[in-house]
């Protein structure tokens, strides 16, 4: 009940916040602290103990009551300290297929002491706890189910802690505008793309080993590791990438029109499956969607580009 109340008050107070540029440091004024329900109950227990001490004139009772009360006050400070001056940065956030779980990662760094049981959560979802050692970035990873394709915005996150004794809840909000791409779920029943899309050639899809090695060029970020000329690197040359010349006949267009399916989402699923399968075979392929086309290519970067296009097809692409 208290948690709900606090949540709604917090929502009201902090209703407008724009995403901030990382890193975020949890400075003093960003951290809020209130007793937990357990804390209120503790207060009640203290009151009972105080009354009993007065009534029975128990000096040790007074000492106990005051010790616990002072402990509570000190604990408040410790709880606050457990959060103060933490530095937050967004972590890696890999795309997933619809139906899987997105992992939003937040890197937490402590400039001073070790921090315990620091938690990150999205509103209404179970928190992810992490211990943060001094000067050693810790990664809190939030699992969020991604039921539909598109862009899954993480939204505002709460970082909180109740350490050491759970009587107080110290928290802060931050929003990096994190989002994750959710690819359409591949449709395993879709099989391979129809052969007629092969541009006037009957040979079928060539397999990976048949391609002709064309040239070596300088490494560009994003080149798949298996195309790196490791031997050249071993000789002491710079990082080079082997470029293959795909035969014209092997050029494959994965077309929206060809993906026969009852509705657009199912089509996207079919296309997603094709992208994965064709990429696995090592075939060069292009993607044609209503309004967009991606020139044929290959490799992990290309695959990711195609899948992203499928994920965001027809989706408002706002932050």
């Amino acid at each position: 009940m208290f948690a709900d109340l606090r949540q709604s008050i917090a929502d009201w107070i902090f209703r407008t916040r724009h995403p901030e540029a990382p890193p975020v440091t949890l400075v003093q004024r960003r951290i809020f602290i209130l007793p937990t329900r357990q804390g209120y109950l503790f207060g009640l227990v203290l009151l009972v103990l105080l009354l009993a001490s007065i009534n029975y004139s128990l000096s040790l009772g007074f000492l106990l009551t005051f010790l616990l009360a002072a402990m509570g006050a000190v604990a408040m400070l410790h709880t606050w300290r457990n959060l103060a001056h933490l530095k937050l940065r967004p972590g890696r956030c890999d795309p997933v297929f619809a139906g899987d779980t997105v992992r939003f990662r937040v890197v937490i760094e402590s400039p001073s002491r070790e921090r315990f049981a620091v938690a990150i959560r999205r509103r209404g979802e179970p928190p992810a706890f992490v211990d943060v050692r001094a000067h050693e970035p810790a990664i809190a990873s939030l699992a969020v189910p991604a039921p539909r394709r598109g862009r899954l915005a993480c939204g505002r996150l709460e970082i909180f802690t109740r350490y050491p004794v759970g009587l107080f809840h110290a928290w802060s909000y931050f929003d990096f505008g994190l989002s994750a791409i959710v690819y359409p779920r591949p449709d395993p029943a879709a099989g391979l793309p129809p052969p007629q899309t092969l541009a006037g050639d009957d040979e079928g899809i060539p397999i990976a080993g048949d391609e002709d090695f064309a040239l070596l060029r300088g490494y560009r970020p994003g080149d798949p590791p298996r195309q790196i000329a490791w031997k050249a690197l071993a000789r002491g040359d710079d990082l080079l990438t082997k470029e293959f010349q795909a035969t014209a006949s092997a050029e494959l267009w994965l077309d929206w029109i060809d993906a026969r399916a009852p509705d657009p989402e199912a089509r996207l699923s079919v296309l997603a499956h094709w992208v994965i399968e064709v990429e696995r075979l090592g075939q060069s392929y292009g993607l044609r969607l209503p309004g967009t086309a991606i020139a044929p290519g290959r490799g992990d970067a290309h695959r990711a580009r195609c899948l992203e296009a499928l994920a965001l097809h027809g989706v408002e692409d706002g932050p």
């Binding site: 357990q38 109950l41 503790f42 227990v45 009972v48 103990l49 009354l51 009993a52 001490s53 007065i54 009534n55 029975y56 004139s57 128990l58 000096s59 040790l60 009772g61 007074f62 000492l63 106990l64 009551t65 005051f66 010790l67 616990l68 009360a69 002072a70 402990m71 006050a73 000190v74 604990a75 400070l77 410790h78 300290r81 103060a84 001056h85 400039p111 001073s112 002491r113 315990f116 049981a117 938690a119 706890f129 992490v130 211990d131 109740r162 350490y163 050491p164 004794v165 759970g166």
Partner: protein, 651 residues
């Protein structure tokens, strides 16, 4: 499991005090819970726990006839704590159980508040807080013992200053706020308002402290330390009693010049009387005196209280005896103890004066009687006959009782005074400790022209009892073996005195810290506290000061580290060069920059090299000492690239 261990520790002292079935129940339930935790077995169904709970309430009610009150309430709490452990699953229930644990610590204090017990309970609190800490760590890997105990200990340690502030300044209220349950003070020992042969000798077995006395000045001789308690007038042939009615005392007594000043700290005994020597000169607050010099507190002595007194040891009082009192002091049941009565009457007939009767009676006791702590039981309807003429072995109440009866039979007004005699002086703090074992009964007789005179027949039978205390009177077989054994060994005796001195301080300053003490203590600090509002004000001030101190200590440790002085010096160096037209590019490292400076401005090269090398050593090497930092700053201050340029141009 931590909580189980903590709970077991806190309940253990209760188990020894409460009925056996409570302990058995608790141990069984905890064992069951431990088994569940160990084997990951299923917790019992809800209905079973509910049934057990109801059973516990019913059993408590059957055992005590109620469910409130100290013993019954504690029993119920212990049982509930056990059941709470049993059904504990969620984290909420764990935290609830810990809070229950804190309350159980408090209930322990209802029974005992000694130093060792306090330390034991502090350990229990520590365990509970450690359990809370461990519970909060929950989500990650299981914390080690150290990771639980260390933060918990730190929390409690940091809480101590605030605790002390509150303890000293929190406005104390004279309890109780509501009527204490009947058994709140059960087990308090002390004198009663009646005396039957045998009841004081029971008290004598007790080593418990009755009260402590701090004398202002010299301690009077042992033999005059008669601490007056209840005065017994009414006699029914067996039992002596305090009269029901009460008459305020008159101050009609003549007294000598020098009073004895002392402060008494009396342990709670649940009755009204206070103890003082002979004739009181001044009365403590909240107390009155009866006509028979019995000092009585207005409230029952339910907590340890301290009062200051003056007494006159050299006095005469009650020289005029009103006839009503005279009648009361002479009355006895003619049909009981006929032999004793006959003896008294024969003495009266044979003697010329009451003084002669008194002397004869003392003589009588001196010749034939033995002082013993284990007198034969007097079962007949004429107990004093049985004692005087058959058993002839008795304790102070036998002597006082039979002596008073003899006097009354002889027509001399007599009454019994019970109280304590003597005490033990602790050489460390010059404090007199009076134990229950020092309980005593003596006689006062009224003599024409002299008033009430104290006579102690026991002193005739066993003079040691009065001169040196109970242990001496009883010889080597002794009353209190542990005490005697301790006395045999000097070191042990010294330790015992030290411990008692500590215990006395504990009693006075910690346990006896009440409204009165608080005012006294604060005024000794120079704070005159008029009412609770002043107190609340001071409490707020002190809390803010101490809390702020502790808090700042914690918060300041976290503030970002102040910048390295070497960096400050370096920035200044760069700024000076920039002013001279040589700005360091953001990507330029110190050594690259130095190379550029050296090539462009050879005139300042040596200084620049010196500064840069020091800076590099401070930042990337093994650092600089404070002195080296100062030197670096001095170099930078003296560094004047613009001036050097001008100088070169001028040349």
């Amino acid at each position: 499991m931590w909580l189980l261990a903590a709970m077991a520790f806190v309940v253990a002292p209760h188990v020894l005090r409460l009925p056996e079935w409570v302990g058995v129940f608790f141990v069984l339930v905890v064992a069951w819970r431990a088994w569940i935790a160990w084997r990951a077995a299923r917790t019992p169904p809800r209905w079973l726990v509910l049934a057990l709970t109801l059973g516990a309430v019913v059993a408590t009610f059957l055992a005590y006839g109620r469910i409130m009150g100290r013993d019954a309430g504690t029993t119920l709490l212990v049982l509930m704590a056990a059941l709470k452990l049993l059904e504990m699953k969620t984290s909420r229930e764990i935290e609830l159980a810990i809070h229950l644990g804190f309350v159980l610590v408090m209930t322990n204090f209802l029974f005992s508040q000694t130093i060792p017990f306090g330390i034991y309970m502090l350990a229990c609190v520590w365990l509970f807080v450690a359990t809370l800490v461990g519970h909060q760590r929950g989500a990650g890997r299981t914390p080690t013992v150290r990771e639980r105990l260390a933060p918990a200990g730190m929390l409690l340690l940091q809480a101590v200053p605030l605790m002390l502030v509150f303890f000293i300044l929190f406005p104390r209220v004279q309890g109780p706020l509501w009527a204490l349950p009947q058994d709140a003070r059960a087990g308090l020992s002390g004198l009663s308002d009646s005396m039957t042969p045998g009841n004081i000798s029971k008290l004598i077995q007790s080593e418990a402290t009755a009260f402590r006395v701090q004398f202002d000045g010299e301690i009077p001789p042992y033999a005059v330390l008669y601490w007056r308690g209840p005065v017994l007038w009414i006699f029914d042939g067996r039992t002596w009693r305090v009269p029901e009615f009460s008459i305020a005392g008159s101050q009609e007594y003549s007294r000598a010049e020098r009073p004895v000043r002392y402060a008494v700290t009396v342990e709670p005994h649940g009755k009204h009387w206070l103890f003082s020597l002979d004739v009181p000169g001044t009365l403590p607050r909240g107390a009155g005196i009866r006509h028979d010099l019995q000092l009585r507190s207005i409230r029952p002595v339910d907590s340890r209280i301290r009062y200051e007194m003056t007494s006159y040891l050299d006095y005469r009082y009650g020289e005029k005896l009103p006839s009503a009192f005279r009648g009361l002091a002479l009355s006895f049941d003619e049909r009981r103890n006929p032999k004793t009565v006959a003896l008294g009457r024969r003495w009266a007939a044979e003697a010329a004066s009451p003084v002669e009767v008194v002397n004869r009676a003392l003589q009588f006791f001196n010749t034939q009687y033995t002082y013993t702590l284990e007198p034969p039981i007097l079962a007949s309807d004429d107990p004093y006959d049985e004692f005087l003429f058959e058993t002839k072995r008795g304790f102070c109440e036998h002597y006082a009782g039979s002596f008073a009866l003899l006097m009354r039979a002889a027509g001399i007004p007599a009454r019994i005074v019970t109280g304590y005699q003597g005490g033990e002086v602790n050489p460390l703090n010059r404090e007199l400790l009076v134990r229950q074992a020092d309980a005593h009964a003596w006689v006062e007789v009224w003599l024409e022209g002299r008033g009430w005179v104290r006579l102690d027949p026991t002193s005739v039978v066993a003079p040691n009892r009065i001169d040196a205390g109970i242990n001496a009177a009883l010889g080597p077989i002794g009353v209190i073996p542990s005490l005697i054994a301790a006395d045999r060994l000097r070191v042990l005796a010294a330790l015992r005195f030290a411990w008692e001195a500590l215990d006395s301080q504990w009693n006075q300053w910690v346990l006896g810290y009440n409204v009165e003490r608080q005012r006294q203590f604060l005024s000794s600090l120079g704070l005159e506290i008029a009412n609770w509002k002043d107190l609340a004000l001071w409490l707020t001030i002190a809390t803010l000061a101490v809390g702020g101190f502790v808090g700042l200590g914690l918060v300041l440790r976290d503030l970002p580290v102040r910048r390295d002085p070497a960096v400050l010096a370096w920035n200044r160096y760069c700024a000076k060069l920039a002013a001279a037209g040589l700005a360091r590019a953001p990507h330029e490292g110190p050594l690259d920059f130095l190379a550029r400076v050296e090539s462009l401005r050879p005139a300042i090269a040596p200084e620049a090299r010196e500064i840069t090398e020091r800076y590099v050593r401070a930042r990337y090497g093994d650092g600089l000492s404070k002195r080296e930092n100062r030197e670096l700053l001095g170099l930078v201050r003296a560094f004047a690239p613009a001036g050097a340029l001008r100088g070169r141009r001028a040349a």
